[in-house]
Symmetry: C2
Subunit: 741 residues, 2 copies
């Protein structure tokens, strides 16, 4: 961000500094009338030099110009950036209020300040804020003079933190309570009244003109995640709001701050900014740079820096403290996996030039080598130089209270996307009701498994594939527990692409290097996202579906034998045509029957499909007739409905958002008009032929509050999201139910 502040575009600050310097004073208030006259003359010259026109002398004209300037401010870079950060649409525009002015700089019984009815940082129920005697509003925030505390207790706390002795505090930095006690008392009463009226923590701007208190503005105060939880719970306990209102006061996304470590404010003050990427997975992390996943162990604290990651990097990603990639969007491999792990990740930082050969990272001319320290803020997408101090996440008892309310008021329930027992445990702790998505392929990358998988892929015939699949079976059997998606990614992702690894594979399989290279080449696709993947694999190689079904059913029977209850749901991915599901359904049912006969026992299981191809939404009435559940794969549905490759969108998506063509990243926030319409259509069509159809969503949008609200509105039964998003989704679902009952 290159902010367009007043300092960047006009010379006024420089001029006033010059005048004060010439006179040998430090405060603006030390300038007398003649000094101000000189200043005005110099200002007029500067305006003429900059604009080529005289400064208008007609007050009416000045007013109109000022109004115009406010309107124009909507389009400055800083405003644009703010809107992006806060997801405020470009097309809202701004309003201009014209009103009489009060002056806080009319002498020592005048002042200006900002107050909060409660502590915006901790949520503590204490009136607090800052003010300056003989000053205007900008002086308080500009940092030229040191603002003083409004309350005596606040002032004393401040002095202690800053190491300011009591006598110095009292003389040089007295509280408003001390310097203008009557006005303070009036302000204190007003703030109480305002909070009582608005029933929320208020942020109040005031000016005192010759001893008379004027309120300039009053609004609900911004607050940290911790303060948000504290204030909502306190207001409830104080009887000011009821439970539903308290819950609606929670901004679900802000709960993230309670779940992940963050950089300390002090550390951030001195941090040297390096680059900006996408806030792919929240939290803060510092570590030494490594460029290869299998070298993540090289340092005790490492940051894995990659152009992009692939499933082969899984183990290294787990070891590293954080992940930084130059390419890929909010649903790229790195982003999805990192969120699942609850690991800090910044994605798609396009200004990074990574050179794997030289093991260097170059950004705007500066080069970082392997072993250099960097720090990532996965909640903002910022990348910093060096090692920054972090503070750990802490969950208060009030957090549990909010989870209880979420449970009480929600209609939709929340599941988790989990590929490992650890994921499942974390999610369960956060209140997930089940597993909405297990990606079987993530199990294929460790040790012997990837070998057997590759053997299967390289097999030239059915018998060869069956032999290899038999080797995979035990791994799948010991892994499976709840809801499982059949093999989804293109086979190309499982084969090695470096010659050395191909050579190794060739030796393992008794093939020539050329044969392996040829097979890898054959598997390559122009657009793998739209290629031979999902159920297209299970249909052309039914033996894969057979093996996976056998593993699922056997695992479920094993669990049942231990006296536990299990409800496996087998999910067929990428269905676009009812015939595809029908084909896979037959394979699954036949295999399950065989296993039931072998084991002389049965279990109840469901077979459903992921709805992720636009066509599936259009023919969901047909699919609904044979599917027992739909689970929306909104990542792929977004890719195909919008024609945006999540891995390539980095080339135009940031431009689109910065220039108002898109309001938000559709991979973060569900595109209601496009993808949402598709989801709505599919639910309506599906339920028209199967009123009992269970419908959920397992795309990344399942953990994003605005999207969760939409899923509530269109009547989904559940959302499923990565473990650390579960609390957020639960609160969002409950609030959606309160808002749209």
């Amino acid at each position: 961000m290159k902010p367009t502040t007043k300092e960047d575009i006009d010379p006024f600050e420089e001029i006033i500094e010059g005048v004060k310097h010439a006179k040998g004073v430090k405060q603006d208030t030390e300038l007398d009338v003649d000094d101000l006259k000189t200043l005005v003359e110099k200002y007029k010259v500067a305006v003429k030099a900059k604009t080529g026109k005289d400064f208008p002398q007609e007050p009416q004209q000045q007013l109109w110009r000022a109004i115009q300037a406010v309107f124009d401010s909507w389009n400055n870079d800083r405003a644009k950036y703010y809107r992006i950060l806060n997801k405020i649409p470009e097309d809202w525009g701004t309003a201009v209020n014209v009103q009489a002015m009060v002056f806080g700089n009319m002498g020592n019984t005048s002042a200006t300040g900002v107050g909060f009815t409660r502590d915006a940082s901790t949520g503590e129920n204490i009136f607090n804020g800052e003010y300056l005697i003989n000053a205007q509003g900008e002086d308080v925030v500009a940092g030229i003079r040191t603002p003083q505390q409004i309350t005596l207790i606040g002032s004393k706390r401040w002095a202690e933190l800053q190491g300011v002795p009591e006598d110095v505090r009292k003389n040089q930095f007295p509280s408003l309570e001390e310097s203008l006690p009557e006005t303070y008392q009036e302000l204190k009463n007003v703030q109480e009244k305002l909070e009582q009226h608005f029933k929320d923590m208020q942020d109040i701007e005031f000016t005192i003109q010759n001893g008379k208190l004027w309120l300039l503005q009053c609004r609900n105060g911004k607050r940290t995640g911790a303060a948000m939880v504290q204030i909502a719970c306190d207001l409830l306990r104080e009887g000011k709001i009821d439970e539903k209102t308290a819950l609606k006061r929670i901004e679900p996304n802000k709960l993230d701050e309670l779940l992940h470590p963050i950089f300390t404010p002090e550390a951030l003050k001195t941090a040297k900014f390096v680059a900006k990427g996408l806030p792919a997975s929240p939290g803060a992390a510092s570590g030494q740079i490594v460029f290869f996943a299998d070298e993540a162990k090289k340092f005790a604290q490492s940051i894995l820096v990659r152009i992009e990651t692939s499933p082969e990097d899984l183990e290294g990603m787990n070891i590293a403290r954080g992940i930084l990639t130059a390419r890929g969007g909010m649903t790229s491999h790195a982003a999805v996996v990192a969120r699942g792990m609850g690991k800090c990740c910044v994605c798609g930082a396009g200004s990074l030039n990574i050179n794997y050969k030289q093991r260097t990272l170059e950004v705007n001319g500066k080069v970082y080598a392997e072993g250099d320290w960097i720090s990532l803020n996965g909640s903002t997408g910022d990348v910093f130089e060096g090692k920054l101090k972090t503070q750990e996440a802490q969950l208060s008892g009030d957090f549990g209270l909010i989870m209880d309310w979420a449970e009480k008021y929600t209609r939709m329930y929340v599941r988790t996307n989990a590929d490992t027992p650890k994921d499942a445990q974390i999610a369960r702790k956060f209140g997930a009701k089940g597993i909405g998505l297990t990606r079987t392929e993530h199990m294929f990358f460790e040790g012997e498994r990837i070998k057997a998988m590759r053997e299967m892929i390289l097999a030239s015939d059915l018998a060869g594939r069956q032999t290899a699949l038999a080797k995979l079976l035990p791994f799948q059997r010991s892994d499976f527990e709840v809801t499982i998606r059949l093999l989804d990614p293109p086979l190309h992702e499982f084969v090695p692409h470096e010659t050395a690894q191909q050579q190794e594979l060739a030796q393992d399989m008794g093939l020539t290097l050329d044969q392996v290279k040829q097979k890898v080449h054959e598997l390559a696709e122009f657009n793998p996202m739209l290629g031979h993947r999902g159920c297209r694999l299970g249909i052309t190689y039914p033996e894969i579906t057979e093996m996976q079904t056998r593993a699922i059913i056997e695992a479920a029977l094993n669990i049942k034998a231990k006296g536990m209850d299990v409800k496996p749901e087998i999910m067929v991915p990428l269905v676009g045509n009812v015939n595809e599901l029908e084909h896979q359904l037959k394979v699954v049912k036949k295999t399950a029957e065989t296993v039931f006969q072998e084991r002389k026992d049965t279990i109840h299981y469901l077979v459903g499909t992921m709805i992720e191809v636009p066509r599936a939404c259009l023919v969901a009435d047909q699919i609904g007739q044979i599917a027992e559940f739909f689970s929306f794969g909104t990542n792929d549905l977004t890719q195909m409905t919008l024609g945006f490759s999540r891995d390539d969108a980095g080339k135009f998506l940031p431009y689109y958002i910065n220039n108002g063509i898109l309001k938000v990243d559709p991979f973060q926030v569900l595109d209601r008009q496009g993808v949402g319409k598709m989801v709505e259509l599919a639910v309506k069509n599906g339920k028209s032929t199967n009123p009992n159809l269970k419908v959920g969503i397992c795309g990344e949008h399942g953990g994003e509050p605005s999207s969760v609200e939409f899923f509530h509105i269109v009547g989904l039964d559940y959302v499923s999201c990565s473990p650390f998003r579960v609390p957020i989704a639960r609160v969002a679902a409950a609030i959606a139910n309160l808002t749209y009952p």
Copy 2:
């Protein structure tokens, strides 16, 4: 195709041949009662050996088994293949008729045969057909005995062609007219009556049992394209049918046979089949194999054989007689370009293994080298060995008559997709009303143009891109004439991927090879189909849209200055969000205004968009408010709605079709339930806010009759297709209008 015929699965033919051989006779009819008894015994043994069961002796049981066998025949490979060829849905199933039998093999006053009321090959109005004395139906088609002609004139023509002297003909192969003159006369009367009744050429199966004529079956006869045209026009001239009926008798796809050369039937009889691919562009061609487009001139008649083609191959494709690729579907680059050129092309022949280094082509163990002759049938997808004789296309006067009817009865009009003046000329000859799609990028591949294009892509800043674009401007200006799509493909397609060419480019541009390689690498995308292309290019680099708009408007003004009328339509590709179109609209309008001022003249032009992203259909009401026309890009719309990459679908699409998961290739025939639904939605939405919206389609489906019918039904104004499909689309559109007025 490996047909499952009776010969493949049972030993009956072998046994009867053995019995005849033992007796020293040649015809089945020469076996006496005892021989037949022996035969039956042997048959029973064979049945027992094959099935493990005795042949059932109970007639009722035999009948049920026979009925079952007919039902089962629906699923044999031959039937499946026939259904694919003729686009008959898998789920129709078959019926079984049980009726009393008549015998054509009861002696010399018995016979069986097949007759046509007109010549199925030429359309000539002459009764014709074949028969055999003392035979059953199968004997006529089985090829064991030489069938004889029904009419005397037919018999004489046959003898002349075969070089059979008149006395031999009369004694050994007499016509039915000669051998059973009374029955012949009866048959002749019946066929006249039948044609009179059905008002179309009839295909009649008959059996004569002891002199009594029985009709087994009567149906509209299959015919060649030439016969189809001839018969429809003749029946009209004979007053048997009216113009509308005559037009509806035209199967539009069959007109292809009149527009392209075909292999002679004699050549096909001895042709050695090599492989099967997709019938990507009709016609027949023989040539010597070349593997590189720039070597197409190496032989006077060459066939370009590639794994896939790219825009760089354009010139070589134009020189070659035909194109054969191992990969890619009906809308792959090779297919689209070949159809545009009217050049024979077979695509996606998956069994080919092409080795560019060794310049060889291997199929099922057999290797073909550069310079070897091969032959392609682009209408069927067959690849043959060697040089086959072809016969040229000939257009009769009746063809013109049919085009006149099409003009008279159609509601939709037909445009053409044309990138060169030659394309436009051909299409105009066939009656195209305008150009529905000019792909500007096809102009960027010749000589100096590709250099300037690459310079633009490699430029690191706006100024550099503008300099390069200025060099492209004159080329664009001299090319443009009518309806133009702005730059669509990803930039990666324009840069060279071989090191030698990259080296050359680096020298031309004054860059290092590494810099060029780096840029090419940066442009690479995971899923270019969903990447940085279409209007995403024009938005992130508005200077491209400016340059193209300037070229279009200047060209139009030049034409106007020559006193001609021109209506340019500027088409913004890949819009999914109204803001995208709005952005491009502004750039176009501003540029056009600038040119108008420079030239002190104006012209009327339209700005519209291609609808090819699913989301665009969902928000077409918004887009319709600012677009002046929609043109459906059904190729990309199919890719995204179904999630099928046209270049990769070869890995599963053939399997899907062969196994009934899909009925037809959705890139050939519009998927009405999915893509069609999208088109319908977009038309409805678009017209809801802009009743005057002009709507057309410029995808490959615009030349496919069933799709054209659908476009008529949903109310499009026009279809646009490759030049050689124009007559087909015109007839299809007119028939659709007659069927759904």
